[in-house]
Structure formats: C-alpha cells, structure tokens
C-alpha cells in the first residue's frame, strides 16, 4: 500500500512564542515535525510494516522544512519527501495548502492519507478535511485506534464523554491522528544517516497543475496577540487554619475550581 502523510514543521512545543507584528519571532526557535503529524507518520510506517508498501511524506514549505522532516520523518521510515514550494503559497490559507497537497497526493497515486489532527502552531484542523473533500475521499478525524487489512479499515475515535466510536469503511480515505494512537519511535542513528540520502521531490504549483490564482487566499490572518501576563502569585498569611480557610475560599470564589 502506498500511503501519503501530510506533515508540517512547527516550533518545538517547548519554544517560547513571542508575537512580533503579524507573526511570531522565529529567532532561537527549534523547528520539529508537528507532534500530531509524528503520530500520523508512525501509524503509516506501522501499517506498511504489517501490510507492505511505502510511506511518502508531503509538505508545503520552503527549504527550511526539509531538515526537520528528514530527521523526524525520513529517519523513522518515510521513503521520500515531496516538498511543495512556490512563492504563491507564502500567504496561502488552509484551502490553498489543501489544494496543493491534494493535487500532489493525487499525482503520486497514494491509497490512504494520514495527517495530524491539528498543527500545534496554527491549530486550525482544516487542511486534512479539505484534502479529503478535494480528493473525494471520506475523512475519519481524531483517530486513536487504527486497523486495516489493506482494503478496508476500522478506526476508533474518542468522542464526547469518553465514548468510543468505531468507524469502518473502505480505502482510500484520509485519517487525522490524535495522541494515544501510537508511540512514535525514536530515530535510530543509522536511519538518520540514511535519511540524508533519501529523495526530496521539489514541486512548484505548475508541476502539480495549479496556478497562483488557484491558491490565492480567501481568508487572511489579520492580528496576533499574546495571552495576558499571569498575575503575580499571592502569599497567604495567618495561622495554618486561617490560611487553609482562605485558600478554600479563593479556590471556590476566585479561581472557581472547587
């Protein structure tokens, strides 16, 4: 089975995010494969380990995304990386990105697509659904369990109230992956070295039959702001009994957590 994985490079979740103008200050930020996409990659790799086939990574981004995707994708089982890069995509919205990915995935002839349930930077959760729509395939979102025999699938989702839903169907389909689906493997040193020699297929819009007009944004991000600074901690005084009483009072009436 030929599986496509949509993967994005995002700031490491430990990074300090500072807003500057209409974006974030990228100085000193470490870029990694979006953690939810890591679940997608792992599930795809596990699936081809069990059923044969190959895993192909797809991303939209400039050359800076290649190194993190080698380390976090090609070094853990991805066969190659398709990097869709075009000046017209610089300001693309989710639909523009989805159009580019769908066109490239279709041209590659993949039989299933895995993606993260969201990216930890944009958190829009839109692209995989749009890709599914553009490909005319079903979407199973926020998957925490997955089985396939190569032509049909059974996917588990945790829905409200901890209820578990099982969705069955036939491939091809798009799946978005959540924490709990698997434990992404560590990249082994020899695989990291091999990943350096794996193929990166660079495509511009023309290569996948799209024009700048096709991906022109219909929505733009207009403003970013940081969360309000956390108020300073408060020290309670008095006897232990008084402090405990005051603490309960504050937890109930101010923090409203009790």
């Amino acid at each position: 089975m030929k599986i496509g994985v949509c993967a994005k490079v995002t700031p490491d979740t430990g990074a300090q995010i500072k807003v500057v103008g209409n974006g974030i200050d990228t100085a000193g930020i470490k870029w990694v494969v979006n953690p939810y996409d890591a679940y997608a990659i792992e599930e795809a790799v596990k699936t081809v380990e069990n059923h044969g086939g190959s895993v192909h990574l797809f991303t939209v981004g400039d050359d800076s995304v290649v190194a993190p995707l080698r380390a976090g994708g090609l070094a853990v089982g991805g066969e190659d990386l398709t990097q869709i890069s075009d000046a017209a995509l610089n300001d693309a919205d989710s639909l523009g990105v989805a159009k580019a990915l769908a066109a490239s995935l279709k041209a590659a002839g993949v039989e299933a697509v895995f993606a993260g349930k969201e990216s930890v930077d944009g958190v829009s959760s839109q692209v995989p659904a749009m890709v599914a729509e553009l490909l005319g395939w079903p979407l199973v979102s926020i998957v925490t369990g997955f089985e396939t025999d190569g032509s049909t699938f059974k996917a588990t989702r945790e829905i409200g109230g901890g209820v578990v839903e099982v969705v069955s169907g036939s491939l091809p389909a798009v799946f978005t992956c959540d924490k709990g689906l698997n434990t992404p493997r560590y990249a082994k040193l020899p695989q990291i070295m091999k990943a350096k020699r794996k193929k990166v297929i660079k495509q511009d819009l023309a290569a996948i039959g799209l024009s700048a007009a096709d991906v022109a944004p219909k929505a733009t991000e207009s403003n970013f702001s940081e969360p309000a600074a956390r108020p300073a901690g408060r020290m309670l005084s008095g006897s232990v009994q008084e402090q405990a009483k005051e603490l309960v009072h504050l937890l109930r009436n101010e923090a409203k957590v009790l």
Binding site: A67, R70, L189, P190, I192, M193, K196
Partner: protein
C-alpha cells in the same frame, strides 16, 4: 568544525531525546542504589549508539571521533555512568579494529557494535595503575590455548561484560612482555571479585575480575605476543577523547542547571546571577566548557584526519576533566544549600566528575604524555 553539521545536529538531537527518556527517569535512583541496567546498553545499541566509530561492515556506524565525541557529550549530560559505558564497550572495538585479524573482527565486533554484547577493558591491577607496564596477571601458552591467571582491578562492567579485553604477561618484565586477549564473560575460571563502593559514577559497575586458570583458544590473542602494552596504549589514546567528551557533557549539564537556577533564585531582591560574584563564576564555567570542547573537538579532528593526536588528546583530557571538576563544584556553589542536596543533579555531577581526572590515565600521567611529546619535538634535529 566550529559547529555541528546538519547530520551531527540530527544525531545530537536524536540521542538527546532518546537518552533523556531512557536513562533520565532512573538516573537519580540508580546513583543512590548503585544500580546498573544492562538492558539500557541493549536499547542504546538498537539505536546505534554502541558502535559509532566501528566500520559499517562490522555493524557499526563508521563515523568519526568528532561525531562520537558529540554523541558522548549528549549522553553524559543525562548520565556520565552510561556515557562511560558506551565509551568502555567501545574500547575492545577500537582495539579489534586496529589490531584484530579478520576472523576476530567478524566474530566479536558486530555484537559489540549492536550493544547485544557488553565489552570491558582490563589493564589495571591492585599494584599497577599508572605504572601499567608492571602488571602481573599471566597468560601461558599450552598447545592451542592460553591459560590466564591473576587479578584485574577496577574493571568497568565487571560481572556484566560478555567480552573482557585482558592484558596479561606472556613474557619477561616491562611493557614488551605483555599481550592482549579476548576472554568471554562466561569463561570457566573467570569470576567477579569485590564490587567497589564509589563516591561517583555509581550507576557504572566497577569490580575486581579474578582469573583462575582461565583457558581460552590461542586464536583469542589480539596482535602478537608482546604487543599488549602498545595495544592498550593505542586504545587509551583515543579513549582519552571519549572521557574528555564525557567531561564536557557533565560540565555543560551542571552549567545548564545552575545557570537557570541563578536567573530564578532571588536574594536581596534580585536574581543571584546579577551579583558579580555569581555571574563571574558562571562566566568562568561557560568559558572553561567552551575551551574544553574546542580542544576535545580538535583532538578528535586530528584523529579523524589521520594526524598524530596523542599529545592533543592528552591535553584535551586534562583540560576537560579538570574543567569538569571545577565547573561542577562551582555549580554546587552557585546553588548553595540546594545544590548540595539531592533534589538537584549537580551534586551527582560533582561526584561523577572526580573520577574523570583519574581513570583512562590520571591527569598527572597525561602531563607526562604531553611533556614527552614536547621533549621529542624540542630534541628533534633542527632543520
């Protein structure tokens, strides 16, 4: 050379995450309990960490010492004990690579490089440490076998190793009477003597190894009879780069913890790093680490490029391990009472650092090596 290339960056990142997850959670406990977990070696081996400098054809990664140094530094930031384990299981590999015949390489290297087997290196004895050439363990040829007798001291991995690389005397006194042997861990007559109770490096097992009529095939002689001392010294020359890298990692970890602490801890109304007495201490620590790392990398680079690296490796070992001792001690100082207690790892780093000035040739012995290089250089006929 002044910063890791892309592949080295990826190796460092991968090792850092893996080792933090694998060893990090038990590091404090295992230090307290003097516990070694051999399964960690197997797991590190699966990731490719146990045969970094061993050629690919024998199951290693075929990388250089600069790469190796960077990886060891990363492991040492989490646990000096396991970084030492990787370096020590690397010693028989270095030796086999350089001195082993094809059969020996094929038989022993792949399992060591994969971390399936754990290696040990036995040179020191109770009566011969720095003066290693005075060792007394014996190996006597009987037909197609050698019979080994004696006692080896301070054997890292004693009792756990699958392969012991043992230096024993086959000839007369002095360095030329020594030979090197591969002895399987389950050889009859090989037993573990006393286990050392140590001040630091406590997750790394150190024991005596007793050899009581241990019979091994003559094919387990590495090099020729009488080569043993040279074999040991070539291993230790490159081993010095590994110990120096571990010292850099230990010092860096101590700076990372104490530097962060100094920015958070407030006394007299301001972060203690803003007091010059503390800020300058941290500045000196950072400077010492950077100096050490540069010298270690230079020694590794010389080795990787086929140059004479022995003197520079000795300098790197002295500079990096002395720096690690000072930096870890100052890290405790920066953190005051909190640094002295086990809630923070810096007191462990300080205890771990001390042995680095002692093993793989004491820092006094390193200075002997350096001064001999100097003498050679200055007494060479001037051209």
């Amino acid at each position: 050379m002044f910063e890791p290339n892309e592949m080295q960056r990826d190796l460092i990142d991968a090792v850092s995450v893996f080792v933090k997850d694998l060893i990090g959670p038990t590091a404090e406990h295992d230090d307290a309990e003097e516990r070694f977990r051999k399964e960690y070696i197997h797991q590190m081996g699966e990731q490719g960490l146990c045969g970094i400098a061993t050629p690919e054809e024998y199951g290693g990664l075929g990388l250089g010492y600069l790469d190796y140094a960077m990886v060891l530094e990363e492991i040492a930031k989490v646990s000096a004990s396991y970084a030492v384990s990787v370096a020590v299981t690397g010693l028989p590999q270095v030796i086999l690579n350089q001195w082993g015949n094809e059969d020996q390489k094929q038989q022993w290297l792949p399992a060591l490089a994969a971390g399936e087997h754990l290696g040990a290196f036995c040179l020191s004895e109770a009566g011969s440490g720095s003066d290693a050439a005075s060792l007394k363990a014996t190996a006597v040829r009987e037909g197609d076998e050698y019979v080994l007798n004696g006692s080896k001291y301070w054997v890292t991995h004693g009792g756990y190793a699958d392969v012991y690389m043992i230096m024993a005397r086959t000839g007369g006194p002095g360095p030329r009477g020594i030979s090197c042997f591969l002895v399987p861990g389950d050889a009859e007559g090989l037993s573990t003597g006393r286990k050392e109770q140590k001040m630091g490096m406590r997750a790394s097992p150190t024991t005596e190894i007793v050899l009581d009529n241990v019979r091994i095939p003559a094919a387990n002689l590495v090099g020729n009879e009488g080569d043993g001392f040279k074999v040991a010294m070539t291993a230790l020359d490159s081993g010095r780069i590994t110990i120096a890298s571990i010292a850099v990692g230990t010092a860096q970890a101590a700076l990372d913890v104490s530097g962060g602490y100094a920015c958070e801890r407030k006394q007299f109304g301001k972060p203690i790093i803003d007091f010059q007495g503390v800020g300058f201490m941290l500045a000196d620590m950072a400077t010492a680490i950077e100096t050490s790392r540069m010298l270690v990398h230079k020694a590794a680079w010389l080795k990787d490029n086929g140059r004479d690296f022995s003197g520079t490796a000795a300098m790197a070992k002295v500079v990096a391990t002395d720096a690690a001792m000072k930096v870890t001690t100052d890290a405790v100082q920066v953190m005051g009472g909190y640094g002295y207690c086990k809630d923070h790892p810096v007191e462990r780093f300080m205890r771990d650092a001390k042995i680095m000035q002692i093993f793989e040739g004491t820092n006094q012995v390193q200075r002997i090596v350096i001064s001999r290089h100097l003498k050679k250089a200055y007494t060479a006929p001037q051209g």
